[in-house]
Homo-oligomer: 737 residues x 2
């Protein structure tokens, strides 16, 4: 038993018992079914489109050229880099603040004129004309939003937060952060929110913030990039990750005017990797956002922004998996949701009784304008319609009204039930449509409804304000669905501007999250799963401790390696026959037998393609000098990520030439020994932020390849492993934390 | 050149130039001076005592027994573990809140009676008696605090925050979290703060919170541990780390009544590793703290707490490196600082002019009691002494007075200069004394002084309140010295209860931190360095990219390995002749030649000692069955960390027997290949939280040892590497971020 060298999981196999338990298995009894292989489809749902997804390279690619480039950077350049980093953080904040203001202004004005017109006809008792105008305007706005999304940018549908979360975890989804997506998202958000649909602008703002960050980092849209010299430092996934984190924090800050909340949201909900320096930089961005917002609010308060009210309280958002249908189908779906919403919002208030105005309250009552807490609607003077107060207004104002304090019994129980029921239904049917949509607002609307109901019931027993109940209801539903705690607490703190609510908010959040956690995952994680984005969880599954990376590698096709000085034909073969993004490079005396004795490193596909495109071929088999490489390639070129070489025609004589891969090889890839458990390999993979993890053999012997396999994100996902090793599934649910 | 296999850093050596630049060096020209070795002294300053320090084992030790233990855990036990985790988090919050209340009450009452007595004599113009009572009481209180620290718990001196920071980074300092330390810290804090020294109770509260967490996790003080079954799950460094993080957050929360601030402080300033689950658990702890504090404040406001005023505003703390002197010396130093402080606080107010009370202000003026914003002191009725208002009160009240708003020109310019100057001097001389001492408060006192001065100067030009200037001054000095941003912002937000201050506070903090960063490290990092604690920084030095771990290993003595089935004599030798904490275990056919062909894993010193103590020896050289091991060792025993085996007498016949190390070996240690750069190895080491990192060879060949070295925290510290490779020093200052 001692000789086979595989006895690395001591267990009861010696007793000949317990063989049925897969957790007791060792390498002596491979779990592997040879006909099964670890496979994965690199496809996922991005927005409403099925896309090919890729992993990101966060690892520093330490090859000769990189090292030379780094060494040759002067102090001035290092300073330039730091300066650029902070300038970009500032610009992200500035632009996010400006765009958020723009969206707010547009929504408030469009919805405002719409509501004014409707109010005008209602005051004249011309209810049908009112309905037609209301419905017509909403349909038109929905149409604009949907057409834009369906035709120009399918990735702009939904909130975008799950995709950002996946990006920061290391999964790239194409067209997610482009200029078209951003513009469609801005205009689409304005349309969808102004149309009174049950969705918010908060999620889209987070996405817009991330788009701004990404575009700034790469110097503009894909086709018109500015080639500023200092921007080249940001042409890598690490710096882009930091920028997008800043962008998402700025978006939340712009949505809720909550700078600390924005930072915490990015930390708690979105980001996978975090470091102290980033805390400080995101905080800078959100500080800029809040200053911009405050400046515009000052201007608007002096009446220069048209119908701009107090808009700006905003929420969260998610799209469903109602897709893969035709474009017309998507547009029709949006329009019917819009129609249903409009009819309900307009028609249901007729069911409510008119309530007399309370003379003890200072606020105007009844009102018939754009906003106001006591809408007259169909009631006589001196009376107001409580449902109209909640329905015939913008969603932001509806939330403000239901949160309003010192107005006990403003809303009747029946009205609150209708309000709650309607938003449950609208929430369910609205998430799937092809417009930018936020999940925060629908959840706040729903949560505030049951909170206010509870407040009305408890009204006779306690002196606690009913508005506070509504706030706590909204907080509890958000914590229960999104599982945010600290960030949500700070956002509510900054929204309500009342520190005394802090302890009670904290406890409501704690209870809601605990209850939610005992049932299912958070809504974002469910969406990530539904969309098929290969998100790597923070904690490995317990059964991963009983599987070694060696077993995983055995279940994969053999690894394809290249030699340090390789024939062009072999490189072309490797590129054509696989889609692998990196190949191990081996060196040593036995190298011609196919198995080198020494691991030189890892070469990226993009760099191999670059070599072919540049035709950097050698006539004889030799190592090159460093100046030869530096003459041919610049670090900027190597940072570009292109892997299409269909247009490269290589002659058959060129096929017999050689390439020296050494200078382009990353000589310091991360490795694990064959006997490492999958659990610990996953911890390494995720903590360090890898794309490839090389597996090296445990036994030291000649003639053996120094690399036995290569693991990627897909290989380490629990779901994929269970497909190949179904017996492990038994204890799937046994989770330590 | 291609054959030597070492050409892994392509560079200009081919050109025969640039040989003088160490950054261009490769393994062909070893930087290594053979007579130099990587060495380190595992000694550091803990409190006021020089101690032997150790690293912590955060890595999961996957050996057979551990795996069996984990597999045998039932669902009920897993639930027990989760339940215990949350119960402990709750208890940490509860106890920290209670102890913070206790300290507050004690300080307020002791200082209150002292100040009342002094006020009584001053009112009678018996100034000398007042001075004697004031000085005498302060000396007595200082004596108590110092004696306790010097005699019983030298580790209780200072704030303790740097040591906590080091602990969470993976450095264990002995006696830091014991029961004695905690009790001395509590009593000592009360004494030192009540004595009116220029120090705060905030740092000590953070330390006390961590002590509570650590003691709860291990079931009580070292000698009287409760052996509850479920506590055994917490007998490892990982869970202890999480608990101590909760404890430190609770401490900050208790100090500032700022729950979110506490969480952010732990995240930003103290913790090295962080995960989402921890955010949520620390938040739970701080929520409990804030409820406890609020409950007691309610009780105290109804007058049941003696002289308890509004005490509770608290700050930060650090001790200096004035040590290694005798005990008497330390006591005398404390007493003379106390004497100087008392005389200054009592005498300087005589220099101030009496100012007439402003009849427009509601507050009582003048007062002569324990607290109050306008102290009469030596002035006639209707007048107050502004310096006495700042000096003859508790530090907390002094801060409250200098922050007071709507009291323009309360303090004269001369008085503010005296106040500023005195606290600069006191701050410098107080930090070194052997009492528990916080750094927050002295910094707030100093910062608020110059803030208020600026406010007085600007008073004629702006309408901004002078109290706000004082708050911003304090915030700026804290950000400039401690480099906290987000957490400080939230703490000030929660302290001042004014959200409108947020944007301006943010900008003051950003500027202060930026200015500070351009000059030196934060005060905690400086203290960590001075104390010699081997803290691992988040970012590797740039020159580490040009050094491989292979070169580092070459500079160390050869690694000592054990065989899978090893002779007792060899084990005893290894333990006696080294202080290493772990040894690689090798297996394979060549194993008797000293070099095995296969890496089985890593065995801990503690487990080897356990084997010797239990005399688990075999007569012949064979592998054991799993039941044999399980009969002999329990997982609880293996979790204990003892490495003293002086009392184990092994006979010479036993010396010739064998031990099967396989079942106790961690089969999944993390490894790096020889050619890995030190920079990337350091990233791995810190991200995953390792204690040992094995270096495996790059070349695959028979007869070669599968482990060429082992790296620890000390080997990866920049300072130690530069000692062994001085030529790298040239570009030391060139830092990318």
């Amino acid at each position: 038993m001692a000789e086979d060298g595989n006895l690395h999981i001591g267990n009861s196999n010696y007793n000949g018992e317990e063989e049925a338990d897969p957790e007791n298995n060792t390498m002596n009894q491979p779990l592997l079914k040879r006909h099964r292989t670890l496979s994965s489809t690199p496809l996922a749902l991005v927005g409403t489109k099925v896309s090919h997804i890729e992993s990101l390279d966060y690892e520093i690619n330490e090859n000769d050229l990189f090292k030379h480039d780094w060494r040759s950077r002067s102090k001035a350049q290092v300073f330039q880099y730091i300066f650029a980093k902070w300038t970009l953080a500032c610009l992200v904040g500035l632009l996010t603040g400006l765009i958020a203001t723009l969206i707010n202004l547009a929504v408030e004005n469009i919805a405002g004129y719409k509501l004014l017109a409707v109010g005008y006809y209602i005051a004249q008792d011309r209810y049908l004309t009112g309905l037609l105008i209301f419905t017509g305007a909403n349909l038109g706005l929905t149409l604009v939003a949907t057409i834009l999304v369906v035709v120009f940018a399918p990735t702009a549908a939904g909130p975008g937060i799950p995709e950002i979360k996946a990006y920061l975890n290391g999964v790239d989804t194409p067209n997610m952060f482009g200029a078209t997506t951003m513009i469609v998202k801005i205009v689409g958000s304005i349309g969808a929110v102004a149309a009174g649909l049950d969705l918010g602008k908060e999620g889209p703002l987070v996405h817009i913030g991330s788009c701004i960050a990404s575009l700034l980092g790469q110097g503009g849209p894909d086709n018109h990039r500015i080639k500023w010299r200092w921007l080249r430092y940001f042409n890598n996934d690490r710096d882009r990750r930091d920028l997008i984190t800043c962008g998402s924090a700025s978006g939340v800050c712009a949505a809720f005017r909550s700078p600390v909340g924005g930072v915490l949201f990015a930390l708690e909900e979105v980001a996978t990797w975090w470091r102290s320096a980033l805390l400080w930089r995101t905080f800078f961005s959100t500080a800029v956002v809040v200053v911009v917002l405050r400046a515009f609010i000052e201007i608007c308060n002096s009446g220069k922004c048209g119908l701009f009210g107090k808009g700006g309280l905003i929420m969260f958002d998610v799209s469903h998996v109602e897709v893969r249908k035709g474009k017309i189908h998507k547009v029709l779906l949006s329009l019917s949701v819009s129609l249903f919403t409009s009819v309900c919002l307009y028609g249901l208030p007729f069911l409510a009784e008119c309530k007399p105005c309370n003379p003890l309250i200072d606020e105007a009552c009844p009102t018939n304008g754009r906003s106001g807490n006591f809408k007259q609607f169909n009631c006589p003077n001196g009376y107001y319609n409580d449902l109209a107060t909640l329905f015939l207004t913008t969603n932001d104002d509806a939330v403000r009204n239901v949160f309003s304090s010192n107005t006990p019994n403003e809303f009747g129980m029946v009205s609150l039930w209708i309000y709650f029921g309607l938003y449950c239904i609208l929430g369910l049917i609205t998430f799937g449509i092809a417009t930018p949509s936020g999940l925060f607002l629908p959840i706040i609307l729903m949560g505030s409804a049951y909170g206010r109901m509870l407040g009305t019931v408890m009204g006779s027993y306690t002196k606690i304000d009913q508005g506070l109940y509504a706030v706590l209801g909204a907080a509890s539903l958000m914590a229960g669905s999104m599982r945010m705690t600290v960030s949500l607490c700070v956002i509510f703190l900054e929204l309500t501007n009342n520190l005394l609510l802090l302890p009670i908010t904290m406890f409501v959040l704690l209870i809601a999250k605990t209850v939610g956690d005992s049932f299912n995952l958070s809504i974002y994680e469910i969406i990530l799963h539904l969309k098929g984005l290969p998100f790597l969880e923070a904690n490995p599954e317990p059964w991963m401790r009983n599987l070694t990376v060696g077993e995983l590698v055995d279940a994969k096709p053999p690894v394809i390696t290249l030699r340090g000085v390789e024939k062009v034909a072999n490189i072309v073969d490797a590129l054509r026959n696989t889609t692998h993004n990196a190949f191990p490079v081996l060196d040593g005396e036995d190298v011609d037998n196919g198995a080198g004795t020494e691991l030189h490193g890892l070469i990226l596909r993009a760099h191999l393609v670059k070599v072919l495109k540049k035709r950097w071929f050698l006539n004889e088999k030799r190592r090159t000098e460093e100046w030869e490489v530096r003459e041919k390639f610049t670090p900027v070129e190597l940072a570009e990520r292109e892997d299409n070489f269909d247009d490269v025609a290589i002659t058959s004589s060129e096929m017999q030439m050689y390439v020296d891969l050494h200078p382009l090889t990353n000589t310091t890839p991360y490795t694990v020994v064959q006997s490492m458990s999958v659990a610990k390999a996953l911890v390494l993979f995720r903590s360090v932020g890898l794309r490839h993890l090389l597996v090296v053999p445990k036994i030291q012997a000649s003639g053996m390849s120094p690399v036995i396999g290569i693991l990627t994100r897909q290989d380490l996902r629990a779901y994929n492993i269970l497909q190949a090793f179904p017996r492990l599934d038994k204890h799937k649910s046994r989770k330590l934390r």
